[in-house]
């Protein structure tokens, strides 16, 4: 079975953190939002979202609560912890570094 590469996995984590940084969301909402933001280009295998969520929760970067939702019934809603906020900043920084480095490479190539 193909495993997502580390880069992809890291990217998914970043996307999730970034998405729920704006406001707490349930799994379905996160999936929809990532899909919408990336214009379907980065559409994640929907199932693989959940292990990522659980991993982030386990790391203590996000926390979850069952609460009433826009879906008309209680859903598990994920929000960022303060640790998660720090992690997001770190990941954004390294992402920016990486992308500008790639940008530079492409331009000079």
């Amino acid at each position: 079975m193909p495993k997502p590469s580390d880069l992809l996995q890291g990217t998914l984590d970043l996307l999730i953190l970034k998405t729920i940084a704006r406001k707490p969301l349930h799994g379905w909402g996160i999936a929809k939002r990532i899909q919408a933001l990336s214009g379907d280009a980065l559409s994640v295998g929907q199932g693989s979202l959940y292990p990522a969520l659980h991993r982030l929760e386990n790391q203590g970067w996000i926390c979850a609560k069952w609460q009433d939702s826009d879906l008309g019934r209680p859903a598990k809603v994920y929000s960022l912890t303060s640790e998660g906020r720090k992690q997001l900043e770190r990941e954004l920084k390294s992402w920016n570094r990486l992308s500008s480095a790639v940008q530079l490479l492409i331009q000079s190539a």
């Binding site: 079975m1 349930h26 799994g27 379905w28 999936a31 295998g45 929907q46 199932g47 693989s48 959940y50 292990p51 990522a52 659980h54 991993r55 929760e57 386990n58 790391q59 203590g60 069952w66 879906l71 019934r73 859903a75 598990k76 640790e83």
Partner: protein, 886 residues
């Protein structure tokens, strides 16, 4: 803190696993529900929409499994589950489990037992305070730094008061004294010490006190410290003993204290009963004033921060000063300092390390065997494993589960191994050579158990990893379709063959090592010691020196005893000597000079071993006369002093000359400058050890150089017990208060002298035998498995008209190929490794072609025989059945 929270969460999720699973289920349901709603909104029918939702979501069970992994619950939960499941699997195939656990128990058992010895001898700290600060000191000639000698009392006091590297220094020596007035006369092992030894070793008395500095002064009152054992056995644990006097060699000593039974120095030494100041000893006391007599063993405690090298440098300066100041005695001498630990365990270290590596190899072989078994099992489980992967188990998860089974096996094997080790240590204890220091303290304790446990886990990894990795197939479809009969087998077969080859090479190494030791032991035991020990009984008689203080009395006593013994029927061949060959108390070595030869250059000396013997000694021991004559009764104190020398001495120091009639000067200290005429040359005798080539020996007549006792030797066809009774009776008819000790047949005493060789040969020999069995099992497993896999092929061959002989050759050929490869590799390793044991060998080189050849032959024979069983089975297969079987 974060770690703590993670752990908390994990524990939480383990406890609430079912709730977490239910929530996950609901979360996924919501997602799928929304996906379906979306699809319906796009205009699909409900069924279509649902199908698309499932497709888009992906494998639900796998997602769940990954979520559990991500939560980290699975690690703990899975492990207990794996263990439970593994236990079920092991119970389902009891034959396999029993073989695996037993093999492993053997491997871990011998390792644990061996380690418990290594732990006790090499690793556990010595029973003294800060043992690494302890160092021993020896005087050595500048020219021969290996000829360690003791230190004279005068030099000891000089060293002690003028050195700047030791915080404390003490001297000691041993002497057997006779305790009378407390039941039967008893020889007590007496430590003659300087009082500093007690604070130096931190010896605390059970009651009373130890010796004080005043007790060690010249002219002090005679006081003694007794051991707890002697206090209990001879004085009924009477606390009033302190202050009372006891009689040692007919002289009263006031008891000032009792030392606990555990205390002894050096720690490997035999039990000590009494401690007195060396100045009070009847023999050594007077000798302390003679600076030529180097009788003290000296131990010192290094000052904090002083290294051994620094101490050596400091003491060198001091000893150079002494050599100048006391040039008469000390010129040409220097001092050598050795770490106490090194001195105590140095000589057994290499043997133990060899044995430890041997059992390590055995464990490797046991692991290889179990790996083989597991591989065969895993192949037959391939279908089950493929099914589990299809149902969503990750590859890592499968590997973990198989490893858990291995861990379970290893733990069971480890448990059985520890039990085995306990019983082995318990059974072997009496057979351990007495010079393995601290032998009494060998037990399976905490560090040993920790060792066994880590060994079990290492073994589980060693034999579990390859099968587990190979068992989780990368190509699911083929595994499912073919039902685990063909796939994975190629790789598996290779690994199995590799393991079998490895086992045979390890067995080769062990067998060669064992074979070399067995051969050298055989050579040692069959060596001609230069005398005939058969039918000879020895006994030690010693005379208390306060009662028998004059040499004249010693001569008279021995003459009387010999006359009385020889008058007994059957005891005509009786003699006396001190010391005997292989004497437990060691040999006496003296310098000698040859009258008429030019004096030796300064700092150079010639030495030979010394023995004082009664006239019939050579006859009783069957030591042949080569030239001149034996001693006779005419060689009395009043007649000219004579000596007999051994063949080696004659050859080495009288090359191409006739030594008869020449004169030599040597002797026990008061007589060391007496010249003696050589009257005879006798055959060489191995007197230090059977494995040591005979050195030069000088003999003197007992009557002209008497001692306060000696060893009685009797050659008789009577039983040892009746000879012993006769000796006792005759000794006591002269003096009822004389102890007779260590009565035993001479061959026993000889056996004692090679007990260490015998023990390590026994151990390594048994390890090689185990290795042989394991290797045979290993190759048997590989060949019989591959034969069973080839049943169909063999059936076709037979159906097509192959002769049974061809089939036999096919299968035996496979085994022979593995065996030969293993032998080749093993021989190379053996050549590389056995030279490390060259120092342990006697009369056989580490690359002895005979041993290598014989071992290769045996190993090859056993391997091919092991293959013969599956080959026979293959031949018996009915071709029709074979063709139908798949």
């Amino acid at each position: 803190m974060r770690i703590f929270r993670i752990i908390q969460r994990r524990v939480h999720s383990v406890l609430r696993r079912s709730r977490a699973d239910a929530e996950l289920q609901r979360e996924i349901e919501i997602h799928i529900h929304e996906l379906t709603r979306q699809a319906i909104a796009e205009g699909m029918s409900e069924a279509e929409a649902r199908a698309r939702a499932f497709r888009e979501f992906g494998a639900i069970e796998r997602t769940k499994e990954e979520c559990r992994d991500a939560r980290g619950v699975n690690r703990v939960q899975d492990f207990t589950q794996d263990l439970r499941y593994g236990f079920r699997i092991l119970r389902k195939s009891p034959g396999f489990s029993a073989v695996a656990v037993l093999t492993l128990a053997l491997g871990i058992g011998v390792n644990t037992a061996m380690f418990s010895i290594v732990d006790a001898v090499l690793l556990r700290s010595l029973p003294y305070r800060d043992p690494n600060q302890l160092a021993l000191m020896f005087n050595v000639p500048l020219k021969r730094p290996d000829a360690l000698a003791g230190i004279s009392y005068r030099d000891f006091t000089e060293y002690r008061s003028h050195n700047r590297v030791f915080s404390e220094m003490a001297g000691n020596t041993f002497h057997d004294l006779t305790l009378t007035g407390a039941g039967e006369p008893l020889i007590v092992n007496t430590a003659d010490v300087t009082p500093e030894i007690f604070p130096l070793l931190n010896a605390k008395p059970l009651a009373g006190r130890t010796l004080l500095p005043e007790d060690g002064k010249q002219g002090a009152a005679a006081v003694a410290v007794v051991s707890e054992n002697l206090w209990r056995s001879r004085f009924g644990s009477n606390p009033a003993l302190i202050g009372q006097s006891i009689v040692l060699d007919m002289r009263p000593f006031t008891v000032v204290g009792i030392l606990p039974a555990a205390f002894r120095y050096p720690e490997g030494a035999p039990q000590q009963d009494v401690w007195i100041s060396v100045l009070q000893d009847p023999l050594f006391g007077p000798l302390t004033s003679q600076p030529r007599v180097r009788l003290l063993g000296v131990i010192g405690r290094l000052k904090p921060g002083i290294s051994l090298t620094k101490a050596q440098a400091g003491m060198n300066t001091l000893s150079a000063r002494l050599a100048k100041e006391f040039s008469a005695e000390d010129s040409g001498l220097t001092i050598r300092i050795e770490s106490y630990r090194e001195a105590v365990v140095g000589n057994v270290k290499s043997v133990l390390l060899i044995l430890l590596s041997a059992v390590g190899l055995l464990l490797l072989m046991a692991c290889a065997n179990i790996a083989n078994l597991l591989l065969s099992k895993a192949t037959s489980r391939e279908r089950e494993i493929a099914m589990r992967i299809a149902l969503g188990a990750s590859r890592a998860r499968i590997v973990r589960q198989l490893l858990a089974e291995s861990v379970l096996l290893a733990l069971l094997g480890g448990l059985a191994g520890v039990l085995l080790a306990c019983s082995a240590v318990w059974t072997l204890q009496p057979f351990l050579p007495s010079d393995l220091t601290r032998i009494s303290s060998i037990h399976v304790g905490g560090p040993v158990l920790a060792f066994a446990l880590s060994l079990s886990f290492a073994a589980a990894l060693a034999f579990g990893l390859a099968p587990a990795l190979l068992a989780a197939p990368s190509n699911l479809q083929t595994s499912m379709r073919e039902g685990g009969e063909r796939t994975g087998q190629r790789g598996g077969q290779h690994v199995r063959s590799f393991l079998a080859i490895g086992e045979i090479s390890l067995a080769m190494v062990l067998l060669v090592a064992g074979g070399l030791l067995i051969r050298s032991l055989a050579l040692v035991t069959s060596v001609n010691p230069g005398f005939d020990p058969r039918n000879v009984t020895e006994a030690e008689v010693s005379l208390p020196q306060f009662q028998y203080s004059k040499p004249r009395q010693w001569t008279a006593f021995s003459g009387e005893l010999m006359a009385r013994l020889q008058a007994q029927p059957g005891l005509h061949d009786s003699a006396m000597a001190a010391p005997l060959p292989m004497d437990r108390q060691g040999q006496a070595t003296f310098e000698f000079s040859i009258v008429g030869n030019a004096p030796l250059p300064r700092g150079k000396s010639t030495t030979a071993n010394y023995s004082t013997v009664s006239p019939d000694y050579f006859h009783v021991m069957r030591i042949p006369l080569l030239r001149g004559r034996f001693f006779s009764r005419q060689d009395s104190p009043s007649n000219p002093k004579v000596a007999i020398i051994s063949e080696t001495l004659a050859r080495r120091y009288f090359p191409n000359q006739n030594p008869i009639g020449r004169e030599m000067r040597f002797g026990f200290p008061p007589d060391s400058n007496v010249s003696r005429e050589i009257v005879g040359v006798v055959g060489d005798v191995r007197d230090v050890a059977l494995s040591q080539k005979p050195g030069p020996i000088m003999y003197v007549p007992f009557a002209q150089a008497p001692l306060y006792g000696g060893e009685v030797v009797v050659r008789s066809s009577l039983s040892t017990s009746s000879v012993a009774a006769a000796i006792r009776q005759q000794v006591h008819s002269i003096d009822k208060a004389l102890p007779v000790t260590d009565v035993e047949p001479f061959p026993n005493a000889l056996g004692q002298s090679i007990s260490r060789e015998r023990f390590r040969t026994f151990l390594l020999g048994s390890f090689s035998a185990m290795a042989l069995v394991l290797a045979a099992l290993g190759i048997f497993g590989v060949v019989s498995y591959s034969t069973s896999q080839r049943t169909r092929e063999i059936g076709i061959r037979v159906a097509l008209g192959a002769h049974p002989r061809d089939v036999l050759r096919l299968i035996l050929g496979q085994g022979a190929k593995l065996a030969l490869l293993g032998l080749g590799i093993g021989a190379v390793f053996a050549l590389l490794l056995t030279r490390f044991m060259a120092s342990q060998l006697y009369g056989v080189s580490a690359t002895d072609p005979l041993t290598f050849g014989a071992v290769a032959f045996i190993l090859f024979g056993v391997s091919v025989t092991a293959c013969y069983i599956p080959a026979r089975r293959a031949l018996r297969v009915d071709p029709i059945v074979a063709l139908r079987c798949q």
